[in-house]
Amino acid sequence: MAAISREEVAHLARLSRLAVTDAELDQFAGQLDVILQAVARVGEVVAADIPPTSHSVPLTNVLRADEVRPGLARDEALAGAPDAYEDRFRVPRILDEEA
């Protein structure tokens, strides 16, 4: 049985904001199924009492002094923007016209 269906791949692509094509969906579904069958091997390890590791550095709550430091100037921050308007990032509409 396949580990992942074409419909699931389409759903995940939508959640990931990827406007994938039908051809990509066909291709990815098969490839991801092969990958998932292989990586599912992590389930073979019986690990009920094993704590998870998210990170190899045992540091917690790394804080720095609360001091004012120079940051990016406004023009520098906007220099790479795809679209800027009156010193702001301009974005496509977020709400429907009626809203």
């Binding site: 990958i35 550095v57 790394v62 790479g80 977020i94």
Partner: protein, 491 residues
């Protein structure tokens, strides 16, 4: 090639400090070499000749003013295109960042500049460092200087090929699952993944934040150590940076070069023995073990039973982190925006932008990560992979209770021809079989040339405990001295 391009970084630094060569002539020699061969190798995505010459002249002026220069002042270096360079294009090998010029320098880049190093340009890579061949670069692959029909490894194939092709004496790479070591192995160069947290990630375009580790690429072990000493050490801008000095890597490399490894215990991982290495690689590894024994090392077989699960765990953890990290590419603040016709919604524009800007491997990994983190699958995939990570760390800890360092081939196979592993993505993933366990554990590892198989380079990997980076330099330098220099590839 000239004497200036075949010299080691150490020799160049000495010659510049002594006034025997100017930084400008050293830089020009490398820019000339790039002009002569890079059309064929394609190691560079961007060559910053003006910036490099200006930096070189600044070093020459400092020397003329009587300033004492550091060991790598005036020495050229190539930087993987995943590290931000102020005002110089940074693409991470992706169309989504085409033409973007960062407004700031990565900490590593700032440290190169402070050391007086001359940044030649930015090197090619698999898109967002996802790949083992540079075939996933949006700008076309880099070719291996040893055989232009073969891959240079990845993701940092550009940095490794630049060094192997004598276009730069040194380069910076980043290693998430083997992206410095595997390219080093297949191009006959030295590649180092420092201890995670030993080199700063500030200004590094993030792929998998708990694994990404920048490090040096070089033609000699001592050169790698000299660069490691420049870029390593605590950075307050990276909250996972370890607040400790750089281990004494340069001293260790020099000590190792004497060729004496008596008293050093090296572990051979039993689980790697029957697992995937092609016959030519296995043969070089056997010869290497014999060489190390001759140098005085004691070889011990050790068992790391959970290493078999490292590759599966990695291909859940890294995609999960990437699916989150790459959410920042939304077409709003920087990078590509596609389909904004004034009518389409933000969500539509975002989806069209990411579809157009990302390549197939990046999309596959984003989707895979989103799956592994989904409600209902999280425990079985991401959660279980994190537990495997704990077990692998325990395997390393137990092994280092018995031996000083572990050794293995760096990668199961020599440089393969273009196209050999692109149709089945999982076949590409196998290139990282031996390098991935270290990334999950966080310790340091080095790949050093060990010999040739059918005329193509094979690397030895030396893995050491966390913050014991100096140990692997000692072993690698001893092997390097025993193997002798590889003849330069005919380009």
């Amino acid at each position: 090639m000239t004497d200036l391009t075949t010299a080691t970084a150490e020799q160049l630094g000495r010659a510049i400090a002594a006034g025997e060569s100017s930084a400008e002539e050293v830089t020009r020699a490398h820019l000339d070499r790039i002009a002569a061969v890079d059309a064929r190798v394609h190691a560079f995505l961007h060559v910053d000749a003006d910036g490099a010459l200006a930096a070189a002249r600044a070093v020459d002026a400092r020397r003329a003013a009587g300033e004492a220069l550091g060991p790598l002042a005036g020495v050229p270096v190539a930087v993987k295109d995943v590290l931000c360079t102020r005002g110089v294009p940074t693409t991470a090998g992706s169309k989504i960042l085409e033409g973007w010029r960062p407004p700031y320098d990565a900490t590593l880049v700032a440290r190169l500049r402070e050391a007086g190093m001359v940044i030649l340009g930015k090197t090619n890579m698999d898109e967002f460092a996802m790949g083992s061949s540079t075939e996933y670069s949006a700008y076309g692959p880099t070719r291996n200087p040893w055989d232009l029909g073969r891959i240079p490894g990845g993701s940092g194939g550009g940095s490794a090929a630049a060094v192997a092709g004598y276009e730069a004496p040194l380069a910076i790479g980043t290693d998430t699952g083997g992206s410095i070591r595997q390219p080093g192995a297949v191009t006959g160069t030295v590649g180092v993944k420092p201890t995670y947290g030993g080199t700063s990630r500030y200004g590094l375009v993030a792929f998998s934040s708990s694994l990404d580790t920048p490090g040096p690429c070089a033609r000699t072990v001592t050169d790698a150590a000299l660069l490691h000493a420049v870029i390593g050490g605590h950075d307050p801008m990276d909250s996972t940076s370890i607040p400790a000095p750089v281990p004494p890597v340069v001293e260790a490399a020099r000590r190792g070069a004497s060729g004496d490894l008596s008293g050093v215990r090296l572990g051979v991982v039993a689980e790697f023995a029957g697992d995937g290495a092609e016959p030519g690689v296995a043969a070089v590894f056997r010869d290497t073990v014999a060489r190390l024994t001759k140098l005085g090392a004691e070889i011990v077989e050790v068992s790391c039973p959970h290493f078999a699960y490292a590759l599966p765990a990695y291909y859940l953890i890294a995609p999960s982190e990437c699916s989150s990290n790459l959410a920042r590419f939304d077409g709003v603040r920087f990078g590509l925006r596609t389909g904004d016709d004034g009518q389409r919604s933000l969500e539509e524009v975002m989806s069209m932008t990411r579809e157009a800007g990302f390549g197939a491997e990046v999309k596959r990994r984003i989707i895979l990560g989103a799956y592994a983190l989904s409600s209902g699958y999280y425990d079985a995939y991401y959660g279980q992979a994190q537990k495997v990570r704990t077990l692998i760390t325990r395997d390393f800890t137990a092994a280092f209770g018995r031996v000083d360092a572990l050794i293995s081939p760096t990668t199961p196979f020599v440089a393969f021809p273009f196209g050999a592993r692109t149709s089945d993505p999982y076949q590409m993933y196998l290139a990282d079989l031996y390098t991935i366990p270290t990334n999950l554990y966080g310790g340091p590892a080095i790949s050093v040339p060990a010999g040739l198989s059918d005329g193509l380079p094979v690397g030895l990997q030396v893995m050491a405990p966390t913050m014991a980076d100096d140990r692997m330099y000692r072993v690698a330098a001893a092997l390097e001295a025993a193997v002798g220099p590889l003849a330069p590839p005919a380009l």
